[in-house]
């Protein structure tokens, strides 16, 4: 069998994408289509006293203006997407899902108050301005550390406080470990908010065909099947009456996994009501308010160690910002809890989590999803400990790594899959050694660094490690069909947002069926093609959908061999699948093409044998026992300009162990994109709110996404520790590029400014903020 998995194959989808022939939601145009725009609140926290939509309704070209009042009984909050983990004892969780339109109180700036549908977007936008709305502003909850203060205004007035959830998790006995520790280090660590900044904003087109009683929805969602199910339930339709298509999408990164955004209910709802197609495309300004965000946490963290740098325990009390509502449950902070122990064998752990409501856009996972915060906490604590104990930062990590024999390793902490986390497999030391070699760690520390510093240059090196829990269940599925043309059709339920699924999934099938990768046509994200599954999130596409496709390819291969054996009158063991043919080994002229075989499997006359099915087609599912844990090390050398505090990254190295690699080129692309996002998280991207909950940098002129000049060439190395949890041995890698970057930046910056004894305990930074931190230190000197 020729090896195709693991080959560096160019992407099947690129010709369409590069020539502008790929379909995105905004490309959908239907005769008679109407356009929607939303009136959104300028205030973060305000009572809605009255709305007068009469002028808007009278504007020529306006077809409908809808407020919460107009929706009557059809106005319903939610639905909540994820419930709290039932297995954690004593968990407090107040579910307050988002609402379609503000009914009585605005809870964040940009929350939708009214929907306008008109003949054009221009008219709709003008009509939005015709609406007279009386909002009575009240004090806003912005700072999460003040949210639980007894005098704080309440985001949800039916609750006693702004506490959304409270949860304590522990393993071992931290207090006892602390008592016998040689060193205890305690720090306050703060991480602030950012946006996902996908190139394509959100968008929805809904088309109701009254004659066939069928609704088609194009949606920039990462989860087309759950969206289909939700729309059907909300609109009282059967699931078969609703088709959701998630076509090509210009970046997901998590926020497009939110189910359901108010617009995802409202646009289909109004399209059915009006009996006309309706389009809504989010603009960039709306995106800064109406699309979910992430990262704000404040940790009071502590690490207890022996004097030779062995970690005895970690403890932290932390606050997590939920924003105005909490439909996504505890996914983000549970990921933080399961990553605060990093890649290390930490026998004792105590974690007290409080989630708070604030008057800000809601938070849901963004690439990394709580993990960057957890990794930042542990890596920072280890760096400070290393300094205090006089141990090299690389050495202290080596000393604490989970030993390769300890896998599967029980973390004893409930994670986002609602079960105690188990790290399935890993071998961490060789990954770290490879990264240290690639960046030339020893040489830099001993020679290069001192030489450059003697020249007056502010250069620094960093090296951090991280784990990433990936590939969580519940399941995905796929159907594979051999067509009479000899081409292979694959349909799966996950959506695609640039991950290269059309190629990596095709490689899995091509290897089993002996066809060219270009002859495998993959369909993703169309519920009429495949309608079971969850979505593309949590670095699970290659693991869960990949293995479902693998299982399905094996089943089709079995059918091919069985039928070919009969046709060619040769035993199955002697048959080979290659070049789109089934051949009898060693007798090249005894063969049949897959296309001919497909025709024979679907006869027009005669009879299909009882107990068999027509066609060379199979459907299979895969659900992992639990998620696979990837591991990696990032290292970099940077230089700081002491006048401007701008940073230039001189070298950037990633060594990644995500199990079996399907396509190294696609994997490296994922890593590159992830690192770019991490650089934003570390040094450029911060959403700034004032004390009234006003977002002060809601444009790409002020909210800085790294560009080509801030992202260096990234060198990627690989190690492969196969996951025992799935036949392909894959682990996810979608978030690996992003997770450790803030921790790495902090370490390297401290290293570059050694005289200042800087301690970086916050993210994101910026040149300005770094300047302030340096000024503070210089004043203290």
């Amino acid at each position: 069998m020729p090896k195709i998995i693991g080959e560096r194959i160019k992407r099947n989808e690129d010709p369409r994408l590069l020539t502008g022939e790929a379909l995105f939601v905004d490309d959908v145009s239907i005769p008679g289509m109407l356009h929607a725009a939303f009136l959104r609140s300028d205030y973060a926290h305000a009572y809605l006293r009255s709305i007068d939509t009469s002028a808007a309704r009278e504007r020529p070209g306006v077809v409908a203006v809808i407020t919460a009042q107009d929706m009557g009984d059809e106005w319903q909050p939610g639905p909540p997407l994820v419930s709290p983990p039932p297995t954690v004892k004593g968990v407090v969780f107040h579910s307050r899902p988002q609402v379609p339109l503000v009914k009585d109180k605005v809870r964040h700036a940009g929350e939708a108050i009214a929907l306008v549908v008109a003949e054009s977007r221009y008219i709709a936008e003008d009509a939005v301005e015709d609406i007279l709305v009386d909002l009575d502003p009240i004090d806003a909850v912005v700072d999460i550390e003040k949210a639980l203060h007894p005098d704080a205004p309440l985001v949800h007035e039916d609750l006693e406080s702004n506490l959304a959830a409270h949860l304590i998790q522990q393993r071992g006995d931290y207090a006892a470990a602390r008592a016998r520790a040689d060193v205890v280090i305690k720090r306050k660590i703060v991480i602030d908010r950012g946006a996902a900044g996908a190139m394509e904003n959100r968008g929805i087109v809904a088309d109701w065909d009254a004659k066939s009683q069928h609704l088609t929805v194009w949606d920039t969602t990462q989860a087309p099947i759950p969206i289909r199910n939700g729309i059907a339930t909300r609109l009282g339709l059967s699931e078969s009456q609703v088709r959701v298509i998630a076509p090509f999408i210009g970046g997901g990164f998590g926020p497009k996994m939110m189910m359901h955004y108010p617009e995802e209910i409202l646009i289909p709802w109004i399209a059915v009501k009006l009996g006309r197609p309706v389009k809504w495309i989010e603009d960039r300004h709306e995106n800064f308010f109406a699309t979910t965000q992430e990262r704000t946490q404040v940790h009071e963290a502590e690490i207890a160690l022996t004097k030779d740098g062995r970690v005895l325990g970690v403890s932290h009390n932390f606050l997590h910002d939920s924003g105005a509502y909490d439909p996504y449950g505890l996914t983000i902070p549970l990921n933080t809890q399961s990553h605060v122990m990093g890649a290390y064998d930490v026998p004792n752990y105590y974690s007290d989590l409080k989630v708070v409501f604030t008057n800000k856009t809601l938070t849901t996972p963004i690439r990394g999803a709580g993990r960057p915060q957890g990794i930042f906490v542990i890596e920072r604590l280890l760096d400070i400990a290393a300094k205090e104990l006089g141990i090299d930062p690389v050495e202290i990590r080596m000393r604490n790594f989970i030993h390769p024999d300890a896998f599967p390793y029980q973390r004893e902490i409930i994670d986002q899959a609602f079960a105690p986390l188990i790290l399935d497999s890993g071998n961490y030391k060789p990954v770290l050694e490879k990264a240290a070699t690639m960046i030339g760690y020893d040489r830099f520390v001993k020679e290069e660094g001192p030489r450059l510093r003697a020249e007056g240059r502010h250069v620094g090196i960093g090296l951090v490690s991280f784990i990433e829990t990936t590939g969580v269940g519940p399941y995905e599925g796929a159907r594979i069909t051999v067509e009479a043309s000899g081409k292979i059709r694959v349909a799966t339920g996950v959506g695609t947002q640039g991950q290269g699924h059309f190629t990596s999934f095709a490689q899995i099938v091509a290897e089993q069926l002996g066809v060219g990768v270009e002859d495998v046509h993959v369909s993703t994200g169309d519920t009429s093609e495949f309608h079971w599954g969850t979505g593309t999130f949590a670095s699970r596409g290659a693991v869960v959908a990949g293995n479902a496709i693998h299982a399905s390819a094996l089943a089709v291969r079995y059918k091919i061999l069985k039928l070919a054996s009969k046709v060619l009158e040769a035993p199955e063991e002697e048959l080979e699948l290659e070049d789109g043919q089934v051949r009898v080994a060693d007798i090249p002229n005894m063969s049949i093409s897959l296309g001919e075989l497909a025709l024979l499997a679907n006869p027009l006359r005669g009879a299909v044998e009882p107990g068999t099915e027509p066609g060379l087609e199979a459907t299979a599912y895969f659900g992992p026992q639990y998620g696979a844990a990837a591991f990696g090390v990032h290292a970099m050398i940077l230089e700081v300009d002491p006048e401007t505090m701008m940073v230039e990254i001189k070298r950037y190295v990633v060594v990644e162990d995500c199990g079996t690699i399907l396509n190294p080129m696609i994997l490296e692309g994922q890593i590159h994109g992830g690192v770019a996002m991490g650089i934003g998280n570390a040094f450029y991207e911060r959403l700034v709110f004032d004390e009234n909950g006003q977002l002060l940098n809601a444009s790409l002129a002020d909210y800085l996404i790294p560009t080509a000049s801030e992202v260096p060439r990234i060198e990627v190395g690989h190690e492969e520790t196969r996951s025992p949890l799935n036949p392909l041995g894959t682990k996810g890698a979608g978030e690996a590029g992003t997770i450790p970057v803030p921790a790495l930046f902090a370490q390297a910056l401290e290293n570059a400014l050694p005289d200042l004894n800087l301690e970086i305990l916050e993210m994101p930074l910026s040149p300005n903020r770094l300047f302030e931190l340096v000024q503070e230190k210089e004043r203290d000197k």
Binding site: Y43, A44, A109, H285, Q694, L696, A698, S699, D702
Partner: protein, 209 residues
């Protein structure tokens, strides 16, 4: 956002006081003002065109005067909202008679902004608001001088408030000045480069002849 500052008027305190309590004069001082009516003794209502960088549109607002101690001090409260967002603020204005017959105005206020004005205009709002206040006070001062001169000569001096375009151009110039001052070195560099190029062309062409 805090707005704190001073301005010296050329006229006596009583004159300046009359000016700032006269809606007609006030509306000429802020040329974006499309209407300003007195709705009660101490309350004005109006519409004003505001533009800050990329954000612009009509504000509908209400101005309330309170704690009035003529001709010394008053508190102004402003509430406005419109397409660009909202603006709420209040400020204390004090007039202090100077020995030379002029009047020192001190103002100290706090303004809250929201909506697009805050989320997109934030970067420019500080400079823009300082500039708008500065321009407006200059205009008031011109008006004051015109009135005074009329009193002295018994003949009205022509007072022409700046048009909306002139006003906006002045604000834009102030904002640009702020940007350019930080990059003056670049401009000097560019100027030097241009001189070198001209010299080079001159030398090449003269060498050829």
């Amino acid at each position: 956002m805090k707005l704190v500052g001073e301005y010296t008027f050329d006229g006596p305190r009583e004159e300046v006081w009359k000016l700032i309590r006269d809606p007609e004069v006030l509306s000429t001082a802020l040329p974006g003002t499309q209407s300003l009516e007195q709705v009660s003794e101490n309350e004005y209502q109006g519409e004003m065109n505001v533009r800050v960088g990329p954000v612009g549109g009509v504000f509908m607002g209400r101005l309330t005067v309170s704690d009035e101690v003529p001709p010394e001090s008053l508190t102004m409260t402003v509430e406005g909202k419109g397409k660009p967002g909202f603006l709420n603020g209040s400020g204390h204005v004090q007039l202090i008679a100077q020995e030379d017959g002029r009047t020192l105005m001190k103002y100290d206020g706090e303004v809250q902004i929201g909506g697009r004005l805050a989320s997109v205009g934030q970067r420019l709002i500080d400079t823009a608001s300082k500039s708008i206040i500065g321009q407006a006070l200059d205009t008031l001062n011109q008006a004051s001088k015109a009135r005074l001169s009329a009193q002295v000569t018994g003949q009205a001096v022509e007072y022409k408030p700046p048009s909306e375009t002139e006003f906006a151009a002045s604000v834009a110039k102030d904002m640009a000045g702020e940007v350019f001052s930080s990059s003056r070195l670049i401009w000097i560099g560019v100027a030097v480069l241009i001189i070198i190029i001209i010299l080079a062309i001159f030398l090449i062409s003269s060498g050829g002849s």
